[in-house]
């Protein structure tokens, strides 16, 4: 596996407040590499996140707003950030008290580095 992918996910998962990160092959909805807690299934998160990202991307293009770049979910326990990176999607799970601004910035940088 490409060291770039592993390093990117590893670096992101070390940002304070990040619970885990998964790099997903967008078309297949399957994980490329992941660093998440053992209680989280990367396969399940990858499949569902990719489906959600692509649906949302369709909304964006249908509405004439262009390509979807980032997508953020607010949940009871934290946030899910997704960023498109060519044929990949970077999925980052963030704790509720995580430094969201920092994580967003790092996620975007990481996604851009993968394109």
């Amino acid at each position: 596996m490409s060291d770039v992918y592993v390093d990117t996910v590893s670096r992101l998962s070390r940002v304070p407040g990040v619970r885990g990160a998964i790099l997903v092959e967008a078309a297949g909805g399957v994980p490329v590499t992941a660093e998440v807690d053992a209680s989280i299934s990367p396969r399940a998160v990858a499949a569902l996140a990719a489906a959600l990202f692509q649906r949302t991307a369709s909304v964006s293009t249908t509405a004439g707003l262009g390509r979807l770049r980032r997508f953020q979910l607010e949940t009871a326990g934290g946030h899910v950030l997704m960023a498109g990176a060519g044929e990949l999607i970077l999925v980052v799970l963030v704790d509720d008290d995580g430094q969201l601004g920092m994580v967003r910035l790092e996620t975007q940088r990481a996604a851009e580095s993968l394109i």
Partner: protein, 163 residues
């Protein structure tokens, strides 16, 4: 499996298969046993299509199983054929009685990840069906055509149509 036992099993399979179709956004789903009996189907428009796909799925399963044995692998978890517009996922549904063959055709509305994810749930639901603990094992490969036609008659009767 006796023909008289098929309606119960087909009825029992209907909900888990429909749930799988809904969740995975698959276009076409077919469940057959190893001798080609059609136990559930969704998305086909003619019995001719079902017959061909059921036959080919059973053959693909048999040949892939032989390949697995040649390569010292007990079996494959699933087969995936990627196409430009449509993809096929072929896997075994393990049950206490006998494995069933699941054929899923999906397009860009779904993904391999989604199909795999919800396949796991379908597999667990099907394995827990009491009908698959009670019916007798089918062991008559020569009855393939007869069983296939009997299955097709049942899945294409109006009462068996998907809601």
């Amino acid at each position: 499996m006796k023909p008289s036992e098929m309606p119960d099993l087909m009825e029992a399979l209907r909900d888990p298969v429909h749930e799988f179709i809904h969740d995975s956004r698959a276009r076409i789903v077919l469940v057959v046993n190893r001798s080609g009996k059609v136990l559930a189907q969704h998305g086909f428009t003619s019995s001719y299509e079902v017959m061909n796909v059921a036959s080919l799925a059973a053959a693909a399963h048999a040949s892939s199983q032989a390949l697995a044995e040649l390569l010292n692998t007990r079996r494959w978890n699933h087969l995936h054929h990627a196409g430009k517009q449509r993809n096929m996922f072929l896997a075994l549904l393990d049950t206490p009685l006998e494995p069933l063959i699941l054929v899923v055709i999906y397009d860009e509305q779904s993904s391999l990840g989604l199909v795999e994810l919800f396949f796991d749930r379908l597999s667990a639901s099907v394995a827990a069906l009491p009908q698959l603990r009670e019916v007798r094992r089918s062991a008559d490969p020569l009855g393939f055509e007869r069983d296939l036609e009997a299955g097709l008659d049942r899945v294409f009767t109006p009462d068996a149509e998907a809601p």
